[in-house]
């Protein structure tokens, strides 16, 4: 029996146990979705580096581990003080806490009533309105992806945020996801659903981290639907334990005149895959994808983005940066599709990597597939070390050599942080980066 079959059998066993626990609910449309998800996962299994999409990212450590799906957040032992390091500034904000992928009402902080706004657990939202499953979750365009299929197979809970037509939610929604692990390797699979109505505006911040010594895999899927003329900012801060794995998939659909910005900051994890995929479903929409990865040691951070210009007259901007030290490895793959009808598309992609050591590496690949003829598409990638002429300029003004290098490294990274509009998160990122980027290195111990 090879490793692949062994892995499939393991998850087939987990899935069977999961189904037993559902009792009568196994006839629901949601469960039909789960079954389809599991079938897709079982058919494909975990990817190997023979697959183009995973050429530089070997997930065999994930495939070789028998992760136990976390079915609830009971007995996790997490209390309010455990959350403090991850809170965003002041108390009283909107915070949805997920422990091991499951909503914790006791630890969350949600205002009693906000007109036109619905915030809570996805499980509760699905119980209230089972049609959500078919209307939104079934449309996951990443259905073919093994990790999304695995998430769908065990789909139970996550965050649910809906803002009705014309409503602006001023306060950012913070989705705080914490893995709490002991000895058993844990599979943490939150599923988030964010729906912005016509002209609705909101910001969502997802943070990921872990507590306890155990190994876990966070396999999170976030689906975001932005209605006509709506605007969503989606920020993620990934700071998983350094012995654990993180696969994050964000799927965005934009109607006409909608705007969407993603700022994905990856600082933690042993092996990280960040998938962001946006689809234009109407004209004059705008999408901005930004990312910052800071890694060292043997960390691997893989960013895969897709922007699908399926409608004419849409604009996309993309800036992904990485600071890599030690033997860290980075991967960037940026796909931009411009469909035949998508005339007047304006797409710009930039990928910049700063290597602080000789052993750190990056594989970067822009991938533009353009089928329309009246479009503007640009892309550029740079990989390099600090500019010694800049270092000398700072030193020639009295700034010490190490301080000069730190200043330039910070300036390189903060370019992305400055694009975050959620003040409390930007300030937190500022502090985090200042502590991480010191003495000419990427520092993990803070």
């Amino acid at each position: 029996m090879n490793a692949s079959t062994e892995t499939k059998d393991w998850y087939a066993g987990r899935f069977a146990r999961f189904e037993e626990g559902l009792n009568g609910a196994s006839q629901s449309p949601l469960h039909a979705l789960r079954r389809a998800g599991f079938a897709a996962f079982a058919a494909k299994g975990f990817p190997t580096t023979a697959e183009e999409e995973w050429r530089f990212t070997n997930v065999s450590p994930i495939a070789a581990t028998q992760f136990q799906p976390a079915f609830d957040c009971e007995e996790s032992g997490v209390t309010e003080p455990d959350l403090r390091p991850w809170s965003l500034g002041r108390t009283g904000g909107i915070v949805l806490v997920l422990i091991n992928g499951h909503f914790s009402g006791g630890l969350s902080s949600i205002p009693a009533s906000l007109p036109g706004v619905s915030i809570g657990s996805l499980a509760a939202a699905l119980a209230r309105d089972p049609a959500l499953a078919e209307r939104y979750l079934a449309s996951a365009r990443g259905g073919g992806d093994t990790f999304t299929a695995l998430n769908t197979a065990f789909l139970v809970d996550g965050a649910f945020v809906r803002v009705d037509d014309g409503v602006t939610l001023q306060e950012p929604v913070h989705i705080l996801s914490l893995a709490s692990t002991g000895g058993t390797p844990l599979l943490v699979q939150p599923r988030h659903l964010v729906i912005a109505g016509k002209g609705a505006r909101l910001s969502v911040v997802e943070t990921y981290s872990g507590r306890g010594p155990g190994v876990y895999l966070t396999n999170a899927v976030t689906e975001i639907f932005v209605g006509e003329g709506g605007g969503v900012e989606h920020d993620t801060l990934q700071m998983e334990n350094l012995n654990s794995y993180h696969v994050g998939t964000t799927l965005i659909s934009l109607k006409g005149k909608a705007s969407f910005t993603s700022n994905a900051v990856n600082l933690g994890g042993a092996l990280v895959r960040n998938n962001v995929s946006a689809l234009f479903q109407g004209e004059h929409a705008e999408c901005t994808l930004n990312g910052l990865s800071v890694a060292t040691g043997t960390q691997l951070v893989d960013n895969h983005t897709v922007i699908d210009h399926a409608s004419p007259r849409c604009e996309s901007h993309e800036l992904y940066k990485a600071v890599l030290d030690g033997s860290a490895r980075g991967v960037f793959n940026g796909k931009i599709f411009v469909r035949q009808d998508a005339q007047k598309t304006d797409a710009k992609q930039t990928n910049k990597t700063l290597l602080l050591s000789d052993e750190a590496t990056i594989d970067t690949k822009p991938q533009l597939e353009i089928f329309a003829d009246d479009v503007k598409c640009t892309h550029g990638a740079t990989v390099g070390q600090l500019d010694e002429e800049q270092v000398f300029y700072l030193r020639a003004r009295g700034i010490g050599a190490t301080e000069a290098r730190d200043l330039l490294t910070f300036a390189f990274a903060t370019d992305v942080i400055n694009r975050v509009h959620v003040d409390a998160l930007r300030e937190k990122l500022d502090v985090l980066l200042h502590t991480r980027l010191r003495q000419g290195r990427v520092n993990l111990e803070v």
Binding site: D387, E389, Q390, F392, Y393, L394, R395, A396, R397, G398, I399, G400, A401, E403, A404, L407, L408, F410, A411, F412, T414, D415
Partner: protein, 263 residues
């Protein structure tokens, strides 16, 4: 004792000798001009004094305020009051002029045991210095030199000089790429910063900057050696007659001229 004493300085880059025995003495309150044709070693001299690591000193010594300058790192030289105005000021995206200058000034103050300035004190100082050199406030909050015009970059160098208040300023071809108005503004800035306690070394190819910054001494640098020194009138002669007559006078006849003469 002079402020700067260069003795028999030999330096080069990657095994190529560029400076071949420079002797120069700069006293407090003086302005020295170093002139010479392209490739004579002017920028190398400025670079060696500021501490550019690409240059290797093979012989000689440099005393600054009686101390061994060549043993100091670039930042230590800056903290001791040496300032190089760059021929090609560097763009630094992501670092604002204000942040950069405050970090530089406070590094210098810390080194000298003077209390570092807080944000308010620093802004007050900057406002005062901006008047001295007519510097546009909007450039302060922009990243260092990013998107600046050639003239704005050079003016930024002089503005930095005003804020950091150096004891010895070396202006490396500050006139290059400047139109006559920008040249005058930059020169006026330098003149206003002049005092009996500091000194300026102006490195230039052309005489025109010296119409505005009037030197006490002019030195002619050819093929890595100072071959002639004089007063400000020497610059005018150079403007009129070029450099070749000096080569001949000093016996340093260009190779091709020598070959022609032997026929």
């Amino acid at each position: 004792m002079s402020l700067l004493e260069v003795r028999n300085l030999h330096a080069g880059v990657q095994g190529n000798a560029i400076l071949e025995g420079i002797n120069l003495s700069v006293g407090k309150g003086e302005i020295h001009a170093i002139m010479g044709p392209n490739g004579s070693g002017k920028s190398t001299l400025a670079g060696v004094l500021a501490g550019r690591e690409a240059y290797v000193v093979t012989e000689g010594e440099v005393l600054y305020q009686g101390k061994d300058l060549l043993g100091l790192s670039p930042e230590e030289r800056a903290r001791e009051g040496l300032f190089l105005a760059f021929q090609y000021p560097v763009e630094i995206p992501g670092v604002t002029n204000m942040y950069f200058l405050k970090a530089a000034l406070n590094a210098i103050r810390k080194h000298r045991g003077i209390e570092e300035l807080d944000a308010m004190e620093f802004i007050a100082l900057v406002k005062e210095k901006m008047k001295v050199i007519d510097f546009d406030q909007s450039l302060l909050n922009r990243p260092v030199n990013e998107g600046f015009s050639g003239g704005e970059k050079k003016r930024n160098e002089i503005f930095q000089m005003a804020v950091l208040d150096p004891t010895l300023a070396i202006l490396d071809e500050t006139d290059s790429g400047l139109d006559i108005d920008a040249l005058r503004i930059v020169a006026e800035g330098v003149n206003r910063l002049r005092s009996p306690e500091n000194a300026v070394v102006v490195v230039t190819h052309y005489q025109r900057l010296l119409n505005y910054i009037v030197p006490d001494f002019v030195h002619v640098l050819i093929d890595g050696r100072i071959v002639k020194s004089g007063g400000k009138e020497l610059a005018l002669v150079l403007e009129e007659k070029g450099y070749d007559w000096i080569r001949e006078e000093s016996g340093d006849v260009p190779a091709d001229a020598h070959a022609a003469g032997s026929k």
